[in-house]
């Protein structure tokens, strides 16, 4: 670049010389050739030697020869200097006229030889800074050995190339003569270049002399210059001279303070406050350790960066044809989401590599890669690769759980009473079962054939076989008695042993303390299998023993009776024919008892807890807490270390008796929930019951409503209010609902009439309610014809539909439930009716909202109005929606109509209230509403107290002031009420006193006080 620049600048210089000046001045302005102009300026600056140099010293430093290097080395400087250069440019342009003379002016002369005009430059006049111009040595051969010219007539060439001829030299005689002639000739010296003696100048001679005399060769040097007083002399004395004071003692005496500090440390070290060496800890000891001794870390090694997939043929710029996508593939690829594509490129074919365009996804790819690196650092992610099937608990195969009941093998029925107890004989052949009618059946386990029946008086409480195998009998409990029965067909040996046990020939000695329990046995000879061989009578009032528990060895028998005293627990011993009550008093009602099979332990289950007693030591061992609400069953493992307790709340607790008193395991029965069978008669009967009660409660609600609003009716009847025809609806509405309750006591033969009546009144209620709401809407729209006409048309249609719907429900009297049962409803037509009502209500709701929305701008009470008025509309709408939905579901005939009565009641109440408001609206031209919902919420803590609502209308004669108040008087009869006094006090609450302020301000407090 430097070379080209140099070339350009030289060319430029030529053109600058050749071209006229005006072009030169415009040149640097039209193209950005600052470089050239810069170089030109430099040249100019270098060439010119005028006053401008001082202003641009940097330019001055650049010589012509250095210019190239300078530019090539420091382009930055160039750029920095650009602006200055431009300034240079302008200034140099302005100086051009003056600067022109620095170039030698060429004169065009006609050559003598050729006759052609030629440019002749004037000879260069040597100047101060022109090189070698200070010497005028004619010979310019340079520093060469001059003997090269020995054989030549000249000794060199002058500046113009002419030969410098050898000066004539005389011989030795001439030299001698010269020395004689010229006395100064000895001061001459031989000039090699000129090959002649040149006389030395006086300065040179002086220099020679100084060198000879070992003097400073410089003539100007003065070795005896006067002293320049820099630091001494008058006024130059040193202000702070160095002190010559002797060294203080502290410089060489040891420091006392340092000693004290050291002594402090030393003392601390001695006392052990400072431990000189850092105590050697285990860390220090383990400073050297085998580094491979540790267990290899469980952490996986950092994940290496994933290797990019090697490109395949498809990625080639010139893939084989089979890799190219077809048109459908291409389309499919383009249509799929970017994330869903199986590969992120489409193979494309180019015949040559030079035809491959730039990769258009490059930026995106790099960006996404950066995003990946930035947002998703390469940490090892433990992906949850869980087989969903492994989460399902492994259920054991049903075969391994056998035996468990899978099917009902046989049924043995007790015809007369409910079978309450069952017991299987120890050998498993026989089963005894007892029922509530007092019969005990003995039947074969495998066949189910009843082979023997015993009949007792009263319910059978429990039946248990004696667990012994050498005797065979069973015990049956009835009220206050235990009967011991011997089954028929016993082998003789067993029969005899049984008889000897139950009716021994020699009675054991009676106990010292007479027991209230009587043991009466028939003699063995007289005993048959038909009657009990032994009867144990419990004391009277002990009730029915509901549980029998045998000890494993069959000598002890425990009974739990439901009666009073001792918890009803008795333990009977057969061999001694003795009964005793083990507990004087026991907490809670005993549900079950159980003997421990091996130890003398006794389990007693009350409703919540299981207590474990040691009968031998007569103390409580532990109390097990199963956490069951009501214990229903209990059993102990034959080995005696596990106990299971079942409860009525579907729980089974498993206790390990050697562990804690908390269950080792709790098992729950998860039963399948069943859907209601809507068509089953029991469900329908239940619904009918609910229906009847619902009607009654709604009737009560309605009577309350009538009573509450009776003053309105009264005012109409007595003529206080001006009767307007829409009011008839609000009078009709309350009255016809009264039929509902009368109908419930209707003659059973007139069931259909009753239901008809119900339906007629219900539909009438809905109709009048909807119509009342419509009137309200019309009033809000200020009786505009375009609103009134469509609403009236709709209303008429609604009336027609509902009047038809009054006669579609059929019912019959059911003697079982003693009520009317709806047998048939035309649910399609019911649907039509309900949806018509719903739709009509919705339409007027919409109209009302629109009207209210319009009035919003000029009514402060809009909010209240909106809430209050709209609430009734919405209530009506949703109440009618419920029966409609039930009707669509069509569960059963009764469910289709069950919600109509609540809907009718609620909508009637709502519409009546609205109409009454409307009346007030018409009278007062101001909307005043009472939030009936506040009635119940305002009484703080006195919800239970009777609420009496007194409503009074105060009409002021002044037309500007309207005050309506609702006051609620709550009589609080609860003397224990916290905040209030002991005595009952009356709370008067001003529910709402809405005032329309006009000229006169109304004092509310004074009004309340005055009332």
């Amino acid at each position: 670049m430097a070379a080209t620049e140099a070339g350009r600048s030289s060319r430029k210089r030529k053109t600058a010389v050749e071209e006229p000046l005006n072009t030169e001045s415009t040149f640097p302005q039209n193209v950005g050739l600052e470089m050239e102009s810069d170089a030109e300026g430099d040249d100019e600056g270098a060439a010119s030697d005028d006053g401008e140099v001082d202003e641009f010293p940097e330019i001055d430093t650049r010589s012509d020869t250095e210019d190239e290097d300078y530019e090539s080395n420091s382009e930055d400087e160039e750029e920095e200097d650009e602006e200055e250069d431009e300034e240079d440019q302008e200034e140099t342009e302005s100086e051009e006229d003056d600067d022109l003379h620095i170039f030698p002016k060429a004169k065009t002369v006609v050559s003598d030889i050729t006759g052609q005009p030629k440019r002749v430059y004037p000879p260069i006049e040597p100047d101060y800074d022109s090189d070698s111009s200070t010497e005028d040595a004619p010979n310019r051969v340079g520093d060469i050995p001059m003997h090269w010219y020995d054989d030549l007539p000249h000794v060199g060439y002058d500046m113009n190339g002419r030969k410098v001829l050898r000066p004539a030299r005389g011989d030795e005689l001439d030299k001698f003569l010269e020395t004689i002639d010229d006395p100064n000739s000895w001061t001459a010296a031989f000039d090699k270049k000129a090959q002649m003696d040149k006389p030395l100048s006086s300065e040179e001679l002086d220099l020679i002399r100084r060198l000879q005399e070992n003097e400073n060769p410089d003539e100007q040097y003065d070795p005896y210059e006067p002293t320049v007083e820099w630091f001494t002399g008058k006024g130059k004395e040193e202000v702070m001279p160095l002190s010559s004071a002797p060294e203080p003692k502290r410089r060489w005496v040891p420091s006392k303070w340092e000693k004290q500090k050291v002594m402090k440390i030393v003392r601390a070290i001695r006392q052990g406050r400072i431990v000189p060496n850092k105590p050697r800890t285990t860390d220090d000891q383990s400073r050297f350790y085998p580094i491979w001794n540790e267990e290899p870390s469980n952490q996986p090694a950092p994940l290496p960066a994933p290797k990019p997939r090697l490109p395949t043929h498809a990625e080639s710029y010139n893939p084989p044809e089979e890799y190219l996508p077809t048109e459908e593939e291409r389309k499919a690829w383009e249509e799929t989401e970017k994330e869903d594509r199986d590969r992120d490129f489409l193979p494309q074919k180019y015949s040559a590599l030079r035809l491959v365009p730039a990769y258009n996804q490059f930026i995106q790819e790099r960006f996404s890669r950066q995003l990946d690196l930035y947002l998703a650092p390469r940490i090892q992610r433990t992906k949850l690769r869980i087989d969903p099937n492994s989460l399902i608990p492994k259920l054991p195969s049903p075969n391994s759980l056998k035996p468990f009941p899978v099917y009902r093998s046989l049924t043995v029925s007790h015809e007369k009473g409910r079978a309450r107890c069952i017991s299987v004989s120890p050998d498993g052949i026989w089963v005894a079962s007892g029922d509530e009618s007092g019969s005990v059946s003995l039947w074969e386990t495998i066949v189910g054939k009843v082979v023997k029946k015993w009949k007792f008086k009263g319910k059978i409480g429990a039946v248990e076989w004696c667990p012994r195998t050498d005797v065979c009998f069973l015990v049956v409990t009835i009220e206050e008695q235990l009967h011991f029965l011997i089954p028929p067909n016993l082998p003789v040996a067993i029969l005899k042993a049984t008889q000897a046990l139950l009716a021994p020939a020699n009675m054991p000695p009676p106990p010292a303390v007479p027991s209230p329990v009587k043991w009466v046995s028939t003699s063995a000879a007289a005993s048959t299998s038909d009657s009990p061989i032994l009867t144990v009578s419990l004391p009277s009032g002990s009730g029915l023993p509901k549980q029998l528990a045998w000890h494993k060895r069959g000598d002890y028998l425990a009974t739990v009776a439901s009666g009073e005293g001792q918890g009803g627990v008795w333990i009977h011993q057969l061999s001694r024919r003795h009964s005793q009550a083990p507990f004087k008093k026991i907490k809670g009602s005993v549900q079950l008892v159980l003997f421990h099979p091996t130890k003398p332990h006794f389990f007693v289950a009350t409703q919540r807890y299981v207590r474990m007693y040691n009968l031998a030591e007569q103390k409580l061992l532990k109390t097990l807490m199963p956490g069951i609400k009501w214990i229903s069953s209990m059993d102990v493992h034959p080995l005696g270390d596990h106990l299971i307790v079942g409860g009525y709340d579907r729980k089974l607790c498993w206790f390990d008796l050697e562990l804690s008193d908390k269950p080792y395991k709790i098992l729950r029965i998860v039963g399948a929930r069943k859907m209601v069978d809507w068509t089953s008669p029991t469900v329908i009967t239940g619904e009918a019951d609910v229906f009847g009660k619902l009607i009654f409660s709604l009737f009560g609600l309605y009577v309350w409503e009538i009573f509450q609003t009776s003053d309105f009716d009264w005012s109409i009847i007595t003529g206080k209010r001006k009767f307007v025809w829409p009011l008839i609806l609000s009078v009709i509405c309350p009255d016809r609902l009264d039929y509902l309750s009368f109908g419930d006591n209707a003659d059973r033969l007139h069931c259909t009439v009753y239901i008809r009546l119900l339906q007629v009144t219900g539909n009438l209620a809905i109709l009048t309610a909807s119509t009342s709401l419509m009137i309200r809407t019309i009033a809000l729209w200020e009786r505009q014809i375009r609103i009134v006409i469509p609403l009236c048309v709709l209303c008429l249609a609604h009336w027609v539909i509902l009047c038809r719907g009054m006669f579609i429900v059929h019912a019959v009297y059911s003697p079982e439930t003693k009520s009317c049962i709806v047998t048939f409803t035309d649910h399609v037509f019911l649907n039509v009716g309900f949806f018509a009502t719903m739709g009509f209500d919705f339409i007027i709701l919409c109209f009302t909202v629109t009207a209210l929305w319009k009035q919003r701008t000029h009514s402060d009470l809009w909010r209240l109005l909106f809430q209050d008025g709209l609430m009734y509309f919405c209530l009506t709408f949703f109440c009618n929606a419920v029966p409609a939905i039930l009707n669509v579901i069509n569960l059963n005939p009764l469910m289709n109509v069950i919600a109509t009565i609540p809907a009718a009641t609620v909508s009637t109440i709502a519409s009546c209230r609205l109409v009454m408001r409307l009346q007030e609206f018409n009278q007062t031209k101001a909307d005043v509403y009472v939030h009936s919902s506040q009635v119940l919420t305002n009484n703080n803590g006195t919800r239970g107290g009777p609420i009496r609502l007194a409503k009074r209308q105060t009409m002021s004669p002044a037309p500007q002031v309207m005050v309506t108040t609702d006051r609620i008087v709550v009589e609080n009869y609860t003397p224990t009420s916290i905040g209030s006094a002991k005595t009952a006090r009356k709370m008067m609450m001003d529910l709402e006193a809405m005032k329309e302020y006009s000229d006169t301000e109304y004092d509310r407090e004074s009004y309340v006080a005055g009332s």
């Binding site: 099917y407 052949i429 082979v451 067909n489």
Partner: protein
């Protein structure tokens, strides 16, 4: 073969049979829409039988009840596959012949004696009916429910028969009766068999009528001969002496003699439900019990020679197949299993065939030995749901036919006993006795 529609699809079929009507072994192309009836007609026409014989068709162990195409579609068998169909003479639908009402449950019915039905009832009586449904005799043998009876076969052509009955009163009794409709009918209890200490469950005799086997709930099997002892072989227990004397009366001659067993077979660890003699060998017995074992006994030596142990299958009944090689045992897990008696003793023996019931099968009757060979695979089982099923052991998936007894009453009433001889099936149980005709129509006994 242009199979344009489903109806035209044909299946290659090869017919095999074990009946007396073999077809030449050749491949038939049978339309898929064919049912049993068409196939039966085909066989009849191919053999050009004079009198049409209805056949049933077994395809892979199942009796064909649908069309062939439907069967193949259900099993996923392609139409190219060659099916091997075995045909058997079909069983006529069972017909109810008569009903013999009882007041109590009937625990056992026997129709081994031609023209007579013997029933043992839970009221302890043995009743004899003839084919005219008339009650001939009511013999109060036991005071307790009698659970089983057997008519001891005798070679004599006289009318007297010896009946052995087992009861809950821990004895079995041998009663001699005279079979006649007239007033000469008499019955006399000759001997009581005293061994067991628990109710007896069954009593059976061998085919020659010389020996008896009793099974009881106490796990013992008694082996007796049928001879009537002249004196009491077992001493009278003291406790019952007075009662017996009062009941029986002072006549020492008419009092049944107390008989002791020849041998006691002790090996069962639980109740024994039934013990039978193997037909071919009068000295070998087979028993099944609640300990899930089927035991083979050498009765003379009183040792158990073979034990087949099943897993948790308390057996209720056992019957020997006519082939004599295997027995059928009904268990409370609602299966009837076939066990090969020749199987080596092992821990648990798998059954050869298992027939699944929907209720507990209580009794089994094999086809009578007089029947033709075609019905030797047929058995009848009665179950607690009151349904009697006829099975073909070659088709184990479902019963060939089944019928419900005592239809008049609602609910299943338990069948406790079935007996099958000469096309007549006697069914005893909760509702009394019913007699049905099962088998070939032309072999029916006139009633």
């Amino acid at each position: 073969m242009a199979s344009t529609s489903n109806a035209d699809v044909s299946h290659p079929v090869v017919f095999t049979t074990q009946t007396a009507y073999p077809l030449p072994s050749q491949k038939f192309m049978i339309p898929a829409s064919w049912r049993r009836y068409q196939l039966s007609q085909l066989v009849n026409k191919a053999l050009s039988l004079e009198k049409p014989v209805p056949f049933d068709f077994l395809v892979r162990g199942e009796i064909l009840r649908t069309t062939l195409g439907e069967w193949c579609a259900e099993k996923g068998i392609g139409e190219e596959e060659t099916l091997e169909i075995e045909y058997i003479e079909s069983v006529m639908p069972p017909q109810k012949m008569s009903s013999l009402p009882h007041e109590d449950w009937v625990s056992c019915v026997s129709c081994q004696e031609p023209n007579y039905f013997f029933t043992a009832s839970y009221d302890g009586n043995i009743r004899i009916f003839d084919y005219a449904q008339s009650l001939l005799q009511t013999i109060p043998v036991h005071e307790a429910p009698s659970t089983s009876l057997t008519v001891i076969p005798s070679n004599a052509n006289s009318d007297t028969r010896l009946i052995a009955s087992a009861s809950h009163d821990l004895t079995a009794r041998l009663t001699q009766i005279t079979l006649s409709t007239g007033p000469t009918a008499s019955a006399r209890t000759l001997a009581s068999l005293h061994l067991h200490t628990a109710p007896l469950t069954s009593i059976t005799s061998n085919s020659s009528g010389s020996y008896l086997l009793t099974a009881s709930n106490d796990g013992l099997i008694g082996f007796w001969d049928t001879s009537i002892p002249t004196t009491d072989e077992v001493a009278l227990e003291e406790g019952t002496e007075r009662k017996k004397r009062r009941k029986v009366g002072e006549d020492q001659d008419t009092r049944p003699k107390r008989k002791a067993p020849l041998n006691v077979l002790k090996s069962h660890t639980a109740r024994v439900s039934k013990a039978i003699f193997v037909k071919s060998d009068n000295k070998t017995a087979v028993s099944a019990g609640f300990d899930s074992t089927v035991r083979t006994w050498d009765t003379e030596n009183g040792v158990c020679t073979n034990t087949i142990t099943a897993s948790s299958k308390p057996f209720l009944d056992i019957a020997e197949l006519p082939s004599g090689q295997s027995v059928l045992a009904a268990s409370t897990d609602r299966t009837v299993c076939q066990y090969d008696l020749r199987a080596a003793e092992s821990a648990t023996t798998a059954s050869v065939t298992t027939l699944h019931h929907s209720a507990t099968p209580s009794c089994i009757a094999t086809s009578p030995s007089q029947s033709p060979s075609s019905s030797e695979h047929q058995i009848i089982t009665g179950a607690y749901d009151g349904v009697v099923r006829l099975w073909d052991l070659r088709s184990t998936k479902s019963a060939v036919t089944s019928f419900k007894v005592w239809e008049a009453r609602t609910g299943g009433r338990k069948v406790l006993s079935v007996d099958w001889t000469r096309g007549v099936v006697g069914i005893g149980g909760e509702g009394g006795v019913e007699v049905w005709r099962v088998g070939e129509g032309d072999r029916l006994v006139p009633s």
